[in-house]
């Protein structure tokens, strides 16, 4: 799609490209998902980290929406005394996990961290996040090309982003 011969051929090319992508996506989910992932793989998802709300961030990162799943165990404290350091971990029994991401709903930027889980790595991660105030922590697990989520509210007594 590098040559620009005129408006019509270019548009046809784009349409063809779009159709191809659509076919891939519909035909075979795992294979359809892998090229997209490979493209996103080496790059830092700058745009997703700039999104202010959670839904936009999930969209920017994965381009689709998640459904809640009870196969994800999100471990976070009920009450965090210090919002600057909130220990949060996720384990899941889902198969073919390719990535795990953490979102904090009411932080200035919702996306906190995103982890890529290559083949052979256990689908579990523990880390520490900052939370501005009492809000929901959402863990998104991408497994077999689909998104699953788990949510937990954490009460924060002292915010982690104050000045």
């Amino acid at each position: 799609m590098t040559t620009t011969t005129g408006p019509l051929p270019t548009r046809r090319l784009i349409l063809q490209g779009a159709a191809g992508v659509a076919l891939l996506g519909l035909g075979n989910l795992p294979f359809g998902a892998s090229p997209a992932l490979a493209a996103a793989n080496d790059k830092y998802p700058e745009e997703a980290f700039k999104q202010k709300n959670e839904a936009d961030a999930i969209k920017a990162l994965y381009g689709k929406t998640a459904e809640p799943s009870d196969k994800i165990k999100l471990d976070a404290p009920e009450i965090a005394e210090n919002g600057g350091v909130v220990p949060i971990s996720v384990t899941t029994s889902l198969d073919k996990v390719t990535s795990i991401s953490f979102f904090v709903a009411e932080n200035p930027f919702a996306l906190a961290a995103s982890y890529r889980i290559p083949d052979g790595t256990v689908a579990a991660v523990a880390n520490r996040l900052k939370m501005a105030k009492t809000t929901n922590v959402v863990a998104i697990v991408e497994a077999d090309g689909k998104l699953y989520s788990a949510t937990k509210e954490v009460k924060v007594t002292v915010g982690g982003c104050g000045g």
Binding site: Y44, V86, A113, R116, V122, L129, G163
Partner: protein, 103 residues
């Protein structure tokens, strides 16, 4: 210079558990200092773990990861004595790399 990365990797059967602690300010760019001036954002964007020439774990981080980040994960396919390479880069172009032997 002492490394900013501290790692402990322990093999237990087929599974290797990795814990890492990195020294980094992880400034969000939203906090003011005592003079009322904004402290510019300074945070790790990518953290990579490699073992036997293969990425075993890649973290993309935003500013909401706590100061001096901690991370724990496990992976399969390594054994005692294998080398684990850890590297990070931050938004100001800073980086650090270290290796650890799996115990």
């Amino acid at each position: 210079m002492a490394s900013s990365i501290r790692v402990r990797a322990t093999a237990n059967g087929d599974i290797t558990e990795v814990q890492a602690l990195i020294q980094h300010p992880m400034d969000t760019g939203l906090v003011k200092d005592s003079k009322g001036e904004l402290i510019p954002a300074h945070y790790i964007q990518q953290l990579k773990f490699e073992c036997n020439g293969k990425d075993v774990f890649v973290a993309d981080w935003g500013t909401a990861v706590s100061k001096d980040p901690y991370i724990k994960f496990s992976f399969k396919g390594a054994k005692k004595g294998d080398e684990l390479k850890i590297s990070w880069t931050d938004n100001k172009g800073g980086s650090d790399t270290t290796t650890a032997k799996i115990a």
